[in-house]
């Protein structure tokens, strides 16, 4: 019999592979064609979460906000309470740093679980598996967005009480924010791909990840200022995948300056590196996921 009336020939050939990349261009095309699946999946996941607990989403914003307060107290206490001059600046630095860090952190932790929890979808449908961590990154971004107005609100309130502190008003440097946020998202997504793959092979990766994220937070320029590092100590800033972007974030939001060239280079290098390495690791093994879930 010849094919049906609305039949559009779509020949797919499935052949053996050995931990190597499938054809990259068709993969990316398929990924792009199905992007609305990732967007809707994230939307529906949020909806499901909201239906389960109405406060769920609010907590995701409240959590870094409250943490920022705790860390702020901690930092000012350690410093001996010298808060009159730069207390608000410190708070602003911690706040925007934590919010940005949590964006990356949410991308990574949610993305790392997306494959192991997406079992049924993976066993039932063939689609580029990278869509699942991508969907988690979209959710993380949507959690990140409302933290910006929260930040601005806190600063405006702070300005009323401490009018002398110099946290910049809108400056031209803020035009860099979308680019920096995108770089944070790409780095987070790339690392999510890496950890999602690891989590398929080693199911306790997630537990480990919660400690890694905590240590990572302390190693990042959030509770301390990038300018506190001198000489070869600055390596610590650039060896950290989120170091350059967080440093750039502080530069924009707190100093009102354009990020430095080395921050740009560092941020781009980490974003590209995470995406390429994470992407290779993930895509070359994703056809193995269905047997290991």
């Amino acid at each position: 019999m010849s094919p049906s009336a609305d039949f559009q020939p779509k020949i797919q050939v499935f052949e053996p592979h050995r931990a190597s990349l499938p054809p990259v261009i068709p993969y990316l095309k398929e990924f792009w064609n199905r992007r609305s699946f990732a967007i809707e999946l994230s939307r529906f996941a949020d909806k499901a979460e909201y239906l389960e607990s109405k406060l769920g989403k609010v907590w995701l914003v409240l959590n870094p906000l409250l943490l920022a307060m705790v860390y702020f107290l901690l930092v000012t206490v350690i410093r001996g309470g010298n808060t009159k001059t730069n207390g608000l600046t410190t708070l602003a630095h911690i706040l925007i740093g934590l919010f940005t860090f949590y964006f990356a952190s949410n991308c990574i932790t949610a993305g790392a679980q997306s494959i192991t929890t997406g079992g049924r979808l993976i066993l039932n449908q063939a689609f580029p598996r990278a869509l699942l961590p991508f969907s988690s990154s979209i959710s993380a971004f949507q959690t990140f967005l409302p933290t910006i107005p929260v930040y601005i609100f806190v600063i405006i309130i702070g300005k009323i009480f401490f009018p002398a502190t110099q946290v910049p008003r809108l400056a031209i440097s803020f035009l860099w924010v979308p680019l920096i946020v995108a770089l944070v998202g790409i780095t987070g997504f790339g690392l999510a791909l890496l950890f999602a793959t690891m989590n398929v092979y080693f199911r306790d990766t997630n537990k480990l990840l919660s400690y890694v994220m905590r240590i990572w937070l302390y190693l990042s320029p959030i509770l301390w200022l990038p300018s506190m590092l001198h000489g070869w100590h600055r390596i610590a800033l650039y060896a950290n995948p989120l170091g350059p972007v967080l440093s750039a974030t502080s530069n924009i939001w707190i100093e009102g300056k354009t990020p430095t060239l080395s921050e740009f280079i560092g941020a781009f290098a980490w974003a590209a590196g995470s995406l390429l390495i994470g992407g290779y690791f993930f895509v070359s093994r994703e056809r193995d996921f269905a047997v290991r879930i």
Binding site: P3, S4, P16, S36, R120
Partner: protein
């Protein structure tokens, strides 16, 4: 590949390794490495050198005991599991309904899950939204259950929604793995009707079922899988007969003994 074929399977073998020892955790991996132990792996040969052509517009039934490789074969045709050897060529859009049910999110309504299922199988948002009403109507759940969370569903209702999504994707090739056992008699009649419709439109259906009457009634050919090999391909009645004899006596027909 010839135009009249929907699926061509050439000398397909699928093997995978399973870890028989402990849970796969980093902790265990480090512990083992420190003791110099190796992981005990077992290789499962799920499919062995299988060659098969499925023409457009045909309904193929697959029978076989548990562990014969039926679900593995279905997954490999869907492109979910890669072949270890050989290759599979598929010509047309595939819709699947495999053993574990679709990836329903239990907190969401049936309607939301229909949209999600459609997007997962590659439809655009507009396409699936245009179909949602028809799919919900086909599932015909009682008392507005379609707008209630899926976790409130009975397994029959769950199966009805899943089946309705799969058959209404207008697939060129529909893969059904034990999907027909969920509904009641009236829904079964309706699903048979729908499948015959799909066939008359020259769409291809591959069915795995332990309900041999279903195989007899719907299929125009059938194969018998046994431990990963295809023992026979014939008219469904003949295959079902042989298979029933095998289930009764427990031995393979004499002409298969050398396999």
């Amino acid at each position: 590949m010839p135009e009249e074929l929907a699926v061509r399977i050439e000398d397909l073998s699928i093997k995978y390794k399973i870890n028989v020892d402990t849970k796969r955790t980093l902790k265990n991996a480090v512990m083992r490495a420190s003791k110099g132990e190796k992981v005990r792996m077992r290789t499962v040969e799920a499919i062995k050198h299988l060659t098969l052509d499925v023409p457009h517009g045909s309904v193929l039934g697959i029978v076989g005991a548990n562990g014969a490789g039926k679900s593995t074969l279905m997954r490999s045709i869907a492109g979910i599991l890669p072949p270890t050897e050989g290759r599979i060529i598929v010509n047309g859009k595939i819709s699947t309904l495999l053993a574990l049910g679709v990836g329903f999110n239990p907190a969401l309504s049936g309607r939301d899950n229909i949209i999600l299922g459609g997007l997962a199988s590659g439809l655009s948002k507009d396409e699936i939204e245009a179909k949602t009403e028809a799919i919900a109507e086909f599932a015909a759940l009682p008392d507005g259950f379609i707008d209630m969370p899926v976790r409130t569903y009975s397994s029959g209702m769950y199966g009805r929604v899943a089946f309705s999504v799969a058959v209404n994707m207008t697939p060129d090739i529909l893969l059904l793995d034990e999907a027909l056992s969920a509904g009641d008699a009236s829904f079964k009649e309706k699903s048979f009707q729908r499948m015959r419709e799909l066939c008359s439109e020259a769409r291809t259906i591959i069915i795995v079922s332990h309900a041999l009457a279903t195989i007899n009634e719907l299929c125009d050919s059938a194969i018998w899988l046994h431990k990963g090999s295809m023992l026979a391909k014939d008219k469904p009645e003949a295959i079902v007969d042989q298979y029933l004899k095998f289930l009764d006596v427990g031995t393979l027909p004499s002409n298969f003994e050398d396999m």
